[in-house]
Amino acid sequence: MAAHGLSTSLSRLLFPVKYASLRPRCCALHSKAQYSTVYNPSEKTFDKILIANRGEIACRVIKTCKKMGIKTVAVHSDVDSSAVHAKMADEAVCVGPAPTSKSYLNMDAIMDAIRMTGAQAVHPGYGFLSENKEFAKRLAAEGVTFIGPDTHAIQAMGDKIESKLIAKAAKVNTIPGFDGVVKTAEEAVKIAQDIGYPVMIKASAGGGGKGMRIAWNDEETREGFRFSSQEAASSFGDDRLLIEKYIDNPRHIEIQVLADKHGNALWLNERECSIQRRNQKVVEEAPSTFLDPETRRAMGEQAVQLAKAVQYSSAGTVEFLVDSKKNFYFLEMNTRLQVEHPITECITGLDLVEQMIKVAKGYQLQHKQEDIPINGWAIESRVYAEDPYKSFGLPSIGRLSQYQEPLNLSNVRVDSGIQEGSDISIYYDPMISKLVTYGATRAEALAKMEDALDNYVVRGVTHNIPLLREIITHPRFISGDISTNFLPEVYPDGFKGHQLDVDSRRELLAAAAGLYVSAQLRSQKVLGNLRVSSTPVECSRWELCVELGEGRHAVEVTKAGNVYTVEVDGGKVEVSGEWNLASPLLPVTINGTDRMLQCLSRDASGRIVLQHLGTSFQVRVLSKLAAELNSYMPEKVPEDTSSILRSPMPGTMVAVSVKPGDTVAEGQEICVIEAMKMQNSLTASRQAKVKSVHCKPGETVGEGDLLVELE
């Protein structure tokens, strides 16, 4: 409730206009909502910038460069040669084969590309080399500007332990129970016991939430230590670990800071990033419903203190954990542009990439703290190529056979680096795009997000739109009652898709029936002069049977123009629409409510897959006769899967812990698959003897590949 009050008061504060005049105001805001790049030709920056990244962030940087009249150079791996970022840039240089270690992390090749193209500066984006002090040093040595903070700041903030010491010294609140470097599992246990459970374990050098593990007891601490140290060694070449007090039910709120090389620093308000799965952000918003102006200012000021303490320049993010009493603790500082920076741009109107470039060139910040507004509300959904039904998202790969961003809607921003026909491969992050919506109020932004998700066409890969839509429409999320435990708390048994209630179920059945009848009628429309005349069935009433899940519904459809009246389960539903059978989008009006459904597939035997309220449902529509006859058709028995372990995702086999003949206990690790830089341990679902093993460490496996058979 407090959150709601805040949002309305905010909007009143910012829009002291009557509601009637709010609409034109919003439109005016729209252009600002995205971010505005103020290109000043007299303020010369660079002639040519190389973007040492790929995907959406590379495209994002190139866009601003274009606005600023700066030539751009993209680097790409061989499989990315026709990727969007490579095509968007003025020049593109191939820096190696697909694996990131040989291309996007290949400093030698990137340095060569810089020399070859004569780029004066490098924007590293996020990830890859963005927080690599070595890279920054090498650039400096060649007189190339690194668009980001100085090496000193990267180093200071890149080390989780050192950064906390600095933060403490700068009078920034830090997490209690903070401790140092860990070398063995037993030492880890001892430290954990000293701090008191629960504790969090992660690689010191690791960024973001990747590789973060939470332990509630000694056993879990040992396991966490093992995993984290492995990951630390393999991903960062630095096996130091960090163990600290884990704050229960926390919110993840971060402050965007912007500093120049002249000692000026600003805080650009907060981003609420509490909705996470496996410690990776899913939905972010700015501002946060939770912060009051005092807390916001306190956090902002501490963030600026920290930035100043390390002579920070460029854009950076200070992450805090905030507990239920609005106590906040410094978590870490990310010395780069964040994935979720667009929402800050939306509410402040600043172009952060432009600011970074200007700061890198040595210009002073032109804004004062009091110039930084909170205009409206922005939400970001990270659209991933992953299956949300498997632990809130396991990577999926494939070719985007159809892809359409909801850019027809106003106040929607989509940052993506892919297009129809692109491949989502195992080599890189499976993010499809960042979908950002904006509104004068949070409610407006949320409504827009619903719309945008419904209008977003993604085919060919499994995606997490069902989960995103459920999150942003969940009552707890709407009321602002969230924490980093939101997903496991709301879906304790895993995400199962949208649960249809009586009305939405009826809507779905009616839409499916309408689509079926439209297709039937279209089949009779044979054009041209016919030698043998056609006698279409004269029909205006159809008796159908619609199957959905376990349910079978007798449905009667009558047609008048484009309006179908569908009688289902004793209720009447009116569905109208254009019924375009070629379009992936299926806009319909159901009992006066506009709905955007999507038709994912439709086959001759009446199977229709419709996306309704974000989730796809398989419906089968049969004529009454076909349904009756179908009852004679035998059920075919599906394969017994309880004794087979199949790969839940594509990836590389890191370790196989069993061999044929071994007896495994329930929950025992069978093998570990690395996918998208994440190690995933697959465990036995029951006690059994291993019959055969079909995988070897180092092998690449596809989704659904048979790994191990149990007896």
């Binding site: 044979v526 043998v532 006698t535 070629a582 058709m633 035998p634």
Partner: protein
């Protein structure tokens, strides 16, 4: 033929009193079951006949009623228990509601041996339901064999009924659909039954290329009976309940001592993946019939009709940007030709023929701006898309069907050549490959060809090249038209020379691109892949009036 028939008898028909029992085919022995039901009802009938109290009208009604239940309720139940529909249910589901017009409901068999002349052994309509109807308003003739009457066995009368509707279909020019579910010949009738088969075969042959003929195998079809489906244009099967074989497992065991199940010998999986006898398999009766309706929409009614045009919601000038990046940079890397086909055709709707057989070539029906087209494409994903014996035959038969029925052919070429090896040479790749060449060369329908990547060697010529009267031949920028891949070519041209790598680079520069073909006019244009759909739709519009006639001949002599 005779040999085939005698084995058919021993495999499927055993004389069991007055009826045929299908021990090897049916799980339920219904020789005994069947005897009881018709007995009572027919005994009543016989009383009426002898007393003659009933008016003609009442007798008509009685007969019609009897015809509608075929072999009686118990056998209908047995049919259902096997997961199969009855002959009439199938017809009802296949055709538009109330469109079925039945013929020969009163026809009865004329056998007088082995007690068959008794009234209780006569069923109005005998063991097949025939007539005409509509599928989405379009005329079709159909016969549906009734397994509940003498196991659907083919009597003289049964054959005569089928011949009648086939003759009618020929006179008006409309397709024939056969729903096969028959144990084989009516053994009691002997040669009459064999004559019946031959009458049907002859009509199948006469109708071939005149009206489309489709067979849907929905139960057993064994012995000589298999040759009728084999002569038709398309054979579809139902998984787990249909079988096609010359001789059943028992005979196979006694002759070759092989142990084989019906499913392995002649089930849907066998014929759609191994033998290439059937063109598609469906999960069950309902799915098969619904899919057959969908399939029928693609076909013209006869060779007198142009390819049908259906109302289309997909813009004909739709650009497909995803195609600009679909062909991988490395020419050795595979991609899925189906991705290209689905992106180009109307509504991503592609009815693939033989999807699980000779997968290195893709064939099937689709629509462009509503008009039916036949699609042929090499599949780089399987065996690099090379042409071998099976893919050549698969492609050739499809091309000939399209040509016979005025369906334009769109060919997507990415072919590294013919598959080398003793297996292929001994198997006769020369004469089988020639079939595809023959079919493309002979075809006079509009032919549009798109070279997406490789078009190497003789296979380039074969795949609807300009030289075989291709109407419009396009190349994508990724096309390479050459005698062979660079490596092989360089090894021959510069044999023994050093600097092979340099020579290879030169060869790639010179030939691994669309220019050599384009400068000679062997391709009409090099087009942006994204514009392919738009261009094909426009070309088809123009080619709709294409007229091309081959020299007069009695018939050509395709290398069979």
């Amino acid at each position: 033929m005779m040999a085939a028939f005698s084995v058919a008898r021993s495999s499927c028909g055993l004389i069991n009193g007055l009826r045929i029992s299908f021990r090897s085919l049916a799980q339920v022995k219904h020789g005994a079951v069947a005897a009881s039901v018709p007995q009572t009802s027919l005994q009543r009938d016989s009383r009426w006949y002898s007393v003659g109290h009933l008016s003609v009208k009442e007798r008509i009604d009685k007969k019609r009623k009897a015809a509608l239940v075929g072999g009686g309720q118990k056998r209908i139940d047995a049919q259902h228990k096997r997961g199969k529909l009855t002959a009439r249910e199938r017809v009802e589901l296949l055709l538009d509601p109330e469109s079925f017009v039945e013929t020969d409901m009163f026809v009865e068999h004329r056998c007088s041996d082995f007690g068959m002349e008794q009234d209780r052994n006569k069923f109005p309509g005998d063991s097949v339901v025939t007539g005409r109807g509509r599928i989405n308003g379009r005329l079709v003739y159909v016969f549906s064999q009734d397994f509940t009457v003498f196991g659907g066995s083919l009597s003289g009368a049964h054959a005569q009924k089928i011949c009648k509707i086939m003759d009618q279909a020929m006179t008006v020019g409309a397709p024939v659909i056969g729903l096969n579910d028959s144990g084989g010949a009516r053994i009691q009738e002997g040669v009459e039954s064999l004559a019946g088969y031959a009458d049907i075969f002859l009509r199948n042959v006469m109708a071939s290329g005149v009206v489309p003929q489709i067979s849907l195998i929905m139960g057993p079809c064994a012995g000589g009976a298999v040759y009728s489906p084999a002569l038709t244009d398309f054979t579809f099967m139902v998984k787990d309940t249909s079988y096609l074989f010359i001789t059943g497992p028992d005979v196979v065991k006694s002759v070759t001592n092989e142990d084989v199940t019906q499913e392995e010998l002649g089930g849907a999986k066998t014929h759609t993946t191994v033998s290439g006898v059937a063109h598609h398999a469906f999960e069950n009766d309902v799915e098969a019939l619904l899919n057959l309706r969908e399939f029928f929409n693609f076909l013209p009614l006869s060779n007198q009709d142009p390819a049908p045009i259906r109302d289309c919601h997909d813009p004909s000038d739709r650009l497909v940007p995803s195609l600009d990046t679909i062909v991988p940079f490395e020419s050795t890397k595979a991609y899925d030709m189906l991705d290209i086909i689905q992106a180009i055709v109307d509504e991503r709707d592609f009815f693939e023929i033989m999807p699980n057989y000779a997968k290195n070539i893709v064939v099937g029906f689709a629509r462009m701006n509503g008009r039916t087209v036949g699609i042929v494409g090499n599949q780089p994903k399987v065996a690099s898309g090379c042409l071998d014996i099976n893919s050549s035959v698969k492609g050739a038969r499809f091309v000939r069907f399209c040509d016979a029925f005025n369906i334009p052919i769109i060919t997507f070429v990415d072919v590294p050549g013919f598959l080398p090896g003793t297996a292929q040479e001994y198997g006769g790749i020369i004469r089988h490959g020639a079939k595809l060449l023959f079919a493309f060369a002979e075809a006079t329908v509009p032919k549009i060809t798109i070279i997406t990547r490789k078009a190497y060697g003789g296979a380039y010529d074969v795949m609807s090249s300009k030289h075989l009267r291709g109407d419009v031949n396009y190349a994508w920028p990724t096309a390479e038209v050459a005698v062979m891949g660079a490596k092989g070519a360089v090894q021959i041209i510069f044999r023994g020379k050093e600097n092979q790598a340099e020579a290879e680079a030169e060869y790639v520069e010179k030939f691994a691109n669309p220019f050599p073909a384009a400068v000679r006019g062997f391709v009409d244009d090099i087009i942006e892949p994204s514009t392919t759909r738009k261009k094909i739709c426009r070309d088809l519009e123009v080619l709709a009036s294409k007229k091309q006639v081959n020299p007069w001949k009695k018939h050509a002599n395709i290398p069979l």
